[in-house]
Amino acid sequence: METEIWLTILGLGVASYAIRLGGFLLALRLPRTGPWARGMDALPGCLIMSLVALMMLKAGPLEQVASLFVLLIAVKTRNLPISMIAGMIFVAGARLMGF
């Protein structure tokens, strides 16, 4: 197990770095206007949207309701820390009340 763990750390470390560098090198070769640029500009939003969709699929009803609450706060305040803390208080409070 000892050797296996070290090999995994090394392998995944190298793979992760290659992925990181690869993304930048790939972006250098893409045109800066037209369909490619439009796609690249939309990518961050689509990626976080995908992450959230996956999280919602795995979340329970309480977390789903709380997420909706966080979204509303975030739309209103446009403030990341406030929205996040409001969500945590919501979840902690709901659990305290036995949900």
């Binding site: 296996e4 750390i9 990181r20 961050p44 992450l51 996956l54 999280m55 975030a74 945590m88």
Partner: protein, 233 residues
């Protein structure tokens, strides 16, 4: 050099400050990872090394899971790398901050890229300052330090930590990503790409629950393709 050039140190500090909500969210995750890793037979040095070299919470967790399940080194690396494939899309969107920089800065900059970098670029934009290299560097470095520190703390404590669900801490990570959405929204042109991205993930991940990391990448890429093909206004 642009005329509103502020010193790199000031940008680094600003980046670290704007990263704080993500740092808090990642820290709760980091402690959880440290706990699990110790229970799975990782030494403190191994936890520390993994957090420093891989620097990706979900990838580390999946690799750990595969190792514990006895799937072997190859499967563990492959699963972790699959989950980290999305970082390719993140460093791609960091292009503007890094292009034209000396090579050692580029090598350092891509190493610090995580999901949180997207939130940071967004915050930088809303400050009407371009999310510059040193701004992203400050945010990324502070997150990396917190990540190494908290995963190690989790590994050392391993027992006797109060239940994080009592304080809603387990929800911090979900909350941070949900709260990022309004800032990423660029208007009506985003409707279709976002529906495609979310819909693809929900469909694919429901059909193939074991392949959720690929669902993520597929969703993001198809969303991007939609935005590229469909002309927004």
């Amino acid at each position: 050099m642009s005329q509103d050039d502020i010193s790199p140190i000031a940008e680094i500090l600003l980046g670290a400050r704007d990263m704080l909500p993500m740092t808090l969210a990642a820290s709760t995750y980091g402690i959880a990872f440290g706990l699990l890793a110790t229970q799975s037979g990782f030494s403190l040095l191994q936890i520390l090394s993994m957090s420093a070299f891989v620097y990706g919470g979900s990838a580390q967790l999946v690799a750990l899971d595969q190792l514990v399940a006895g799937a072997g080194v190859g499967a563990a690396v492959l699963a972790g790398a699959a989950l980290n494939m999305r970082v390719l899309l993140i460093t791609a969107s960091m292009r503007d901050a890094m292009v034209g920089r000396p090579w050692w800065q580029v090598l350092m900059g891509v190493y610090l890229a995580t999901d949180a970098s997207i939130a940071l670029m967004q915050t930088g934009k809303s400050r009407r300052a371009l999310s510059s290299y040193w701004y992203l560097f400050g945010g990324g470095t502070s997150l990396l330090i917190a990540w190494i520190f908290t995963t190690s703390i989790g590994g050392i404590l391993s027992k006797g930590i109060p239940d994080p669900t009592r304080f809603g801490l387990d929800f911090a990570l979900v909350a941070v990503f949900v709260a990022m959405l309004p800032g990423l929204w660029r208007g009506r042109a985003d409707i279709l790409p976002w529906i495609v991205a979310g819909g693809t993930v929900l469909t694919f991940a429901t059909m193939f629950p074991a392949q959720s990391s690929w669902a993520l990448i597929l969703g993001a890429v198809l969303g991007g393709v939609t935005a590229g093909v469909v002309r927004g206004d």
